[in-house]
């Protein structure tokens, strides 16, 4: 399997999005006894009020960060399937830092900043394990990132529901973090918090980094064709960047999940944010700026499904089916001719021992 250097960027996402919306409508019509109500709840629910709209933005923020992380890795031709574990680790670290800060009475803005940085760094290090495995042993990042992440995921779950568990609660969760050590709410009573600004800022920053700076330029070239990058003398150290940054962004996503409205680290806190992030990144064609609308779309599907479950009789998990439909179709490109000899490029030239 040679998965390096092939970036499965989505082509034109609009047909796939349309298909998902049609599927949602079809599902509402077939499965609901009150299809009109269900449809309205599904499509307009998330936009029906200020509260609902701000919730949508809040819901989209961690997803946006995870999607940024995924698209950055894809852009550089790297597969990071360890986002779930990286997010869980980030969440745990943020909770630990804030818990310790609160007990020492640290200045909250400072504590929050430390927590975010610590979360990002710890997850970046986790992701770098895979980069090292690829660099020094040639082990596929696709596999090692998943394995490391899965181990960390289980370890975090154990920690959260075991030694670190809040004894005073019947939730499988750590003790709640004091309110003033959480990200500030931007529009109470909605759950929208400062995380949205962080996510938005980072999305813009990464769009800038990739599009306008030398390191971003080199990363793009590396992702477009690693052999070309080597021939043109780009630094091999570039290979560390995509995974480290991707890990850091996933760690921040996890931290946001903990420092937002829930205010505590719960068992299974990552809750699929990284898998959804990958889907969002692919729908956005791995372009950082396009992850903004794409993550809003996915959050909208989630909230719409939840609203239709609340007001009508549909399942909130139906959104997963819509997301899958988008993902199934987003890279499709119907062809007239049958495929030639695989994706193998013609490199007929014999080479003496490669360095």
């Amino acid at each position: 399997m040679n998965v390096h250097g092939t970036s499965p960027a989505g082509r034109n996402p609009l047909p796939a999005l349309a298909a998902a919306i049609c599927l949602a409508a079809f599902y509402a019509l077939v499965a609901s006894s009150v299809p009109g109500l269900a449809l309205r709840a599904f499509f307009l629910g998330p936009l029906s009020s200020r509260y609902a709209f701000f919730s949508l933005l809040g819901e989209a923020s961690p997803l946006l960060l995870a999607a940024l992380g995924a698209s950055l890795a894809f852009k550089a031709g790297v597969f990071n399937l360890g986002g779930e574990g990286q997010a869980a680790l980030g969440g745990l670290v943020a909770a630990l830092v804030l818990g310790a800060a609160a007990s020492r009475g640290l200045w909250p803005p400072f504590a929050i900043a430390i927590a975010l940085v610590a979360a990002a760094i710890s997850s970046a290090l986790l992701a770098c394990l895979s980069a090292a495995a690829e660099r020094f042993a040639g082990a596929e990042t696709l596999l090692t990132s998943f394995l490391f992440s899965q181990a960390v995921l289980l370890a975090v779950d154990w920690a959260v529901a075991g030694p670190l568990r809040d004894p005073g609660s019947n939730l499988l969760a750590m003790p709640p973090i004091p309110k003033h050590y959480l990200l500030p709410r931007l529009a109470p009573p909605s759950p929208l918090d400062g995380g949205a600004l962080i996510a938005l800022g980072l999305a813009l920053a990464f769009a800038f980094l990739l599009g306008r700076t030398r390191i971003g330029y080199e990363l793009r070239l590396y992702g477009a064709n690693p052999l070309f990058a080597r021939v043109q003398g780009l630094s091999p150290a570039l290979a560390w960047w995509p995974l480290a940054t991707s890990g850091a962004l996933h760690g921040l996503a996890g931290a946001l999940l903990v420092m937002g409205s829930s205010g505590r680290a719960v068992k299974g806190l990552s809750g699929g944010v990284a898998w959804n992030g990958i889907a969002v990144a692919l729908v956005a064609g791995t372009e950082p700026l396009f992850t903004l609308p794409a993550s809003l779309f996915f959050a909208w599907l989630d909230l719409g499904a939840r609203a239709s479950a609340l007001f009508a009789d549909l399942s909130p998990d139906a959104s997963a089916i819509m997301k899958a439909a988008v993902l199934f179709l987003v890279t499709a490109r119907p062809r007239s001719k049958p495929r030639g000899p695989g994706r193998a490029r013609k490199t007929a030239r014999s080479r003496p021992r490669a360095l």
Partner: protein, 297 residues
């Protein structure tokens, strides 16, 4: 597990390894044919649920297993058609299947059983009585004869798959389809069709593996595949894409799970933390394996 014995440990390892081995053998078809088998996880979960649902509804475990197999196959077929007929990226389509399976299961479960949670079924059967007597043999007794029916079904299916790879023209043709040159084209083989067949075989195997997971627990638990499909994918690479190696890697992981479970019985052992060890150990094994391979070439 009140009294921990070595024979029971071997039995537990086999039981944990068997579903992974079956899914991995199935996935081996896809890998040999040159496509990625990312959707094993989704096929497994769908298979587990379909098996429980069908057994609950019909009361027949046999029909349950058949439904599990069918569900896994359906998921894989969806991936195969998207990839081979619509030109979608096979990795992305596989991810889509892994997102689809839990969502679909939850929606159907709520519609049929009015719950999104655990669905219990008690119709899964134990092994035949005659065999049970042999389970008293030392060491291998419980491993070979003390398992439930699902285990034997898996063994049968795994043997069938290994047989197909090794003893029928299909095995050779799939291998040729996965080659980088035009061997398949020159032999007049339809690569795309071969890949679809490979996806379907992998899906069916993973579905059956999922069904046996559910049978082992006697219930469907959301997320019960818990990464085993991915582990199966790792086992394919760890096993060097050869049936024997794949089986070895799968059962190796199974025994790690059994070891972790057994260690949980010790007093004060951090139960869930131990469950993380098999994944870390597999990652390390993969890295060591790759490093060794790199030194050879």
């Amino acid at each position: 597990m009140q009294s921990f014995g070595f024979d029971l440990f071997v039995a537990a390892g086999c039981a944990a390894g068997a579903p992974i081995a079956l899914a991995a053998l199935g996935g081996l078809f896809t890998e040999l044919s040159g496509a990625l088998s990312v959707a094993l996880e989704g096929s497994m979960l769908a298979g587990a649920f379909a098996a429980v649902a069908a057994t609950r509804i019909t009361g027949s475990a046999a029909l349950g297993f058949a439904a599990g197999l069918g569900a896994g196959l359906a998921i894989a077929l969806l991936v195969a058609l998207c990839a081979e007929r619509l030109g979608a990226d096979v990795f992305v389509a596989g991810l889509a299947a892994n997102i689809l399976a839990p969502g679909l299961v939850s929606v159907v479960s709520e519609a049929v059983f009015k719950t999104k949670g655990v669905v219990v079924v008690d119709a899964f059967m134990r092994g035949p009585q005659g065999v049970m007597a042999l389970a008293k043999l030392p060491v291998v007794g419980p491993a070979l004869f003390g398992q439930n029916a699902a285990f034997y079904l898996l063994a049968l299916a795994a043997a069938l798959l290994a047989f197909v790879v090794g003893a029928t023209p299909l095995g050779n043709r799939l291998r040729a389809a996965g080659e980088r040159n035009e061997a398949a084209l020159a032999a007049g083989l339809d690569r795309s069709r071969l890949r679809i067949i490979a996806h379907c075989l992998a899906g069916a195997a993973a579905g059956l593996a999922g069904a046996s997971l559910a049978a082992g627990v006697g219930a469907f638990v959301p997320g019960m595949s818990s990464g085993r499909g991915w582990i199966a994918l790792v086992a394919i690479y760890l096993g060097g894409r050869r049936p024997a190696g794949v089986l070895l890697a799968s059962f190796g992981f199974g025994f790690l799970i059994a070891l972790a479970s057994a260690a949980q019985a010790l007093k004060g052992a951090p139960a869930e933390l131990l469950l993380a060890l098999p994944y870390a150990a597999t990652a390390i094994a993969l890295i060591i394996g790759r490093a060794a391979r790199g030194r050879l070439t």
